[in-house]
């Protein structure tokens, strides 16, 4: 895949948080703190869709951008990618299981149990 930059992630977060696809202008309005030029937002949106993180569709003259995958899917994929870096997946998974906090271990346990049931 590829990691995202700071601004790229901010923008993805905004788009992940909405269900409806947004235009560049709308995204720009939702980034309050930073005073970015409109073209900056457009450039980043363009790069993100080039990289496959966003899909865009026409709406009059403007594009509407929408995440290509859910944030959870993205995060899960990043985790799997990290896992691929090791030679010993079992050891890494064991480590990981030990590292997650108690409540999260519970989540994992439940998800795995459901898997088993199917």
């Amino acid at each position: 895949m590829k990691g995202l930059g700071e601004l790229e992630r901010t923008i993805m977060d905004i788009l992940w948080a909405r269900s409806a696809p947004l235009t560049a202008r709308e995204v720009g309005r939702l980034i309050e703190d930073r005073d970015l030029a409109p073209t900056t937002v457009m450039t980043v949106l363009d790069r993100l869709s080039r990289k496959g993180f966003l899909n865009r569709t026409r709406d009059g003259r403007a594009w509407r951008y929408q995440p290509a995958a859910s944030r959870d899917a993205y995060v899960a994929e990043l985790m799997l990618e990290a896992l691929d870096l090791t030679g010993d997946r079992d050891a890494a998974l064991t480590r990981f299981a030990q590292a997650v906090s108690g409540s999260e271990a519970e989540i994992l346990r439940r998800a795995l149990t459901e898997l088993e049931d199917h």
Copy 2:
């Protein structure tokens, strides 16, 4: 943390694979395919120790480099970092659990069960 580059990862892999700390020369000899200048290897080793991935100790004039953490710990940390990117950790964990293959789900299950027992 930070991701590693291509050559950086190659070198970390070499060091992770040995138990004993190696000198730059020794590492260079273990990279067969690429014909790298000795200084290239030294530079990368230096950067890696600056970044905290390696510890080094003197051995005569030379440095001996050694991973600061195990590969599994590194991978587990990367996975946790990915997990931190999401707003909804539970959803991401559930996704992840569904994505790992059957045998790996088994590993995870076992590790989690052991956790529970303590």
